[in-house]
């Protein structure tokens, strides 16, 4: 095999590191998206036995947004294996304990019992905030686009933008807000 063909093979099967910002994103929709990159389904060379999955670094998992009242109602089950070891933990409680767990479980369960999910999950790196070790960030060469556009806070708009915004109606000048 010539050198050119060898490096072509190397480049085709190279592993890419992606970064994804989970802030303001629905973890379950994000999981559906990230699962494709982790399994290698986004590549034309995909085959389950091909080991072509990529790495994904997810930042700001602490800022995910669950829909409606899932924070209060979604409960995660855990059993220690011992008698009386069953426990149900609500999403907000779990998130307080470990801000990466919700997204991790979402990605894991999105793989639907696939036999390779145990080691595919090893390629998922979750961080509750933006602080990622520099070694890992050096590997990254792609950013996955967010699913939902992040809304901008009112106080993050500049004074000029607020003045120029085309308002339809406004409070009267002497109205006192409670």
């Amino acid at each position: 095999m010539s050198a050119l063909k060898r490096v072509q093979q190397w480049a085709t099967f190279a592993r890419i590191w992606h970064v994804y910002d989970a802030a303001w994103q629905n973890p379950f929709h994000s999981a559906k998206l990230l699962k494709k990159y982790l399994m290698g389904l986004h590549k034309p060379i995909y085959h389950p036995l091909n080991d072509c999955g990529d790495h994904v670094i997810v930042i700001n998992t602490g800022d995910i947004a669950l829909p409606e009242d899932e924070w209060k109602k979604r409960a995660y089950f855990h059993h220690t294996g011992y008698p009386g070891g069953a426990s149900w933990t609500v999403a907000w409680e779990l998130h307080d304990k470990d801000p990466t767990m919700i997204l991790k479980k979402a990605v894991y369960s999105s793989m639907d019992g696939n036999l390779q999910r145990r080691y595919t999950m090893e390629r998922l790196h979750l961080f509750p905030d933006g602080k990622v070790p520099a070694d890992l960030m050096k590997n990254v060469s792609n950013q996955i686009q967010q699913i939902r556009p992040v809304p901008k806070r009112l106080d993050h708009y500049s004074e000029q933008e607020r003045k120029e915004f085309p308002k339809l109606i406004d409070y009267p000048k002497d109205y006192i807000l409670r």
Binding site: M1, S2, A3, L4, K5, V7, Q8, W10, A11, A14, R15, I16, W17, H55, D135, L136, K138, N139, S141
Partner: protein, 297 residues
């Protein structure tokens, strides 16, 4: 109920045996119990003894040397002169061995022509033709191609698949690669003598040069230090310097690091290549640049 019937059948059979005072033999028409174990045992013993040593095809039955030699030419679609072809297939070692045998028996030895002179003649034919065919390639590439095609392994491979292995007359068995290679060359010379040089050249093209099919130039020709080679090549064309630029990279901190480097001259791309490290990527880019320069891709 069935238990009652079974005991009834058994007792009646026993009584019948007693009455008739005969033996009911167990002869049936199926495959006997001892057949499979016997065959298995024979098989393991055969394996233990080991494979049979290879024998030359000419020692088997139905070997007609004349017919084989005739068929060889016709199979290739070529018209050979019978005597010249036989000479091409006779190796010097065979001639010597025959002479020895004749001396031992005391029989007069009839001179057999060997293919020594034909081999020498063919060396020149093949080399000249290859050089002619590859004259559009750069010098060192043409030389590498020539060396690759005229190597002993390549010629032996072609000869073996052509069916020369069975009809060569040599003293040794199994036939060696060098003998096969030489005989191929002798056959080319025999064709030239039987017909003409043009026909022999077409023969070389069809059987030898066609071995290049599907091969990349860098499978055969590998310039050591491709960057230096490229520098010299560019200097010949008036380009004195080029700069390598990192185009893409992924997983830089891991063992599966992948880099893409492009070589540029005045913002014009000369060559681009991938690599496991930046140095390898540069070398691959140099190889790509060399390929583009030589063949104006």
């Amino acid at each position: 109920m069935s238990l009652y019937r079974q005991t009834l059948a058994l007792t009646s059979r026993l009584l019948l045996k007693q009455a008739l005072k005969t033996r009911i033999t167990g002869e049936t028409r199926n495959i006997k119990r001892w057949v499979a174990p016997t065959l298995n045992e024979l098989y393991t013993r055969r394996l233990k003894v080991g494979p049979e040593p290879p024998q030359p095809r000419s020692t088997f039955l139905e070997w007609n040397y004349e017919a084989e030699v005739f068929a060889f030419g016709k199979r290739l679609g070529e018209d050979f002169d019978k005597n010249i072809l036989k000479q091409a297939l006779t190796h010097r070692s065979f001639v010597i061995a025959e002479e020895e045998k004749a001396k031992q028996k005391g029989v007069q030895f009839e001179e057999l022509a060997s293919n020594r002179s034909l081999i020498k003649e063919s060396d020149k034919i093949v080399s000249d033709f290859l050089k002619e065919e590859f004259k559009e390639h750069p010098d060192d590439v043409a030389e590498a191609l020539h060396d690759y095609l005229t190597s002993v392994d390549m010629l032996a491979h072609v000869a073996s698949h052509m069916g020369l292995r069975d009809i060569i007359l040599t003293s040794e068995f199994p036939v060696e690669n060098s003998t096969l290679a030489d005989t191929f060359k002798a056959v080319v010379a025999a064709l030239k003598q039987s017909q003409d040089l043009a026909r022999a050249q077409i023969f070389v093209k069809d059987f030898l040069i066609s071995q290049l099919n599907g091969k990349d130039i860098f499978d055969i020709w590998n310039p050591e230090k491709p960057l230096e080679y490229l520098t010299n090549l560019l200097r010949q064309r008036g380009i004195n310097e080029f700069e390598p630029r990192l185009c893409n990279q992924s997983a830089a901190n891991t063992i599966l690091a992948n880099y893409q480097v492009g070589l540029y001259n005045n913002k014009k791309l000369l060559g681009i290549g991938w690599g496991e490290s930046i140095q390898i990527a540069k070398e691959t880019a140099a190889l790509d640049a060399i390929q583009r320069l030589h063949y104006q891709k």
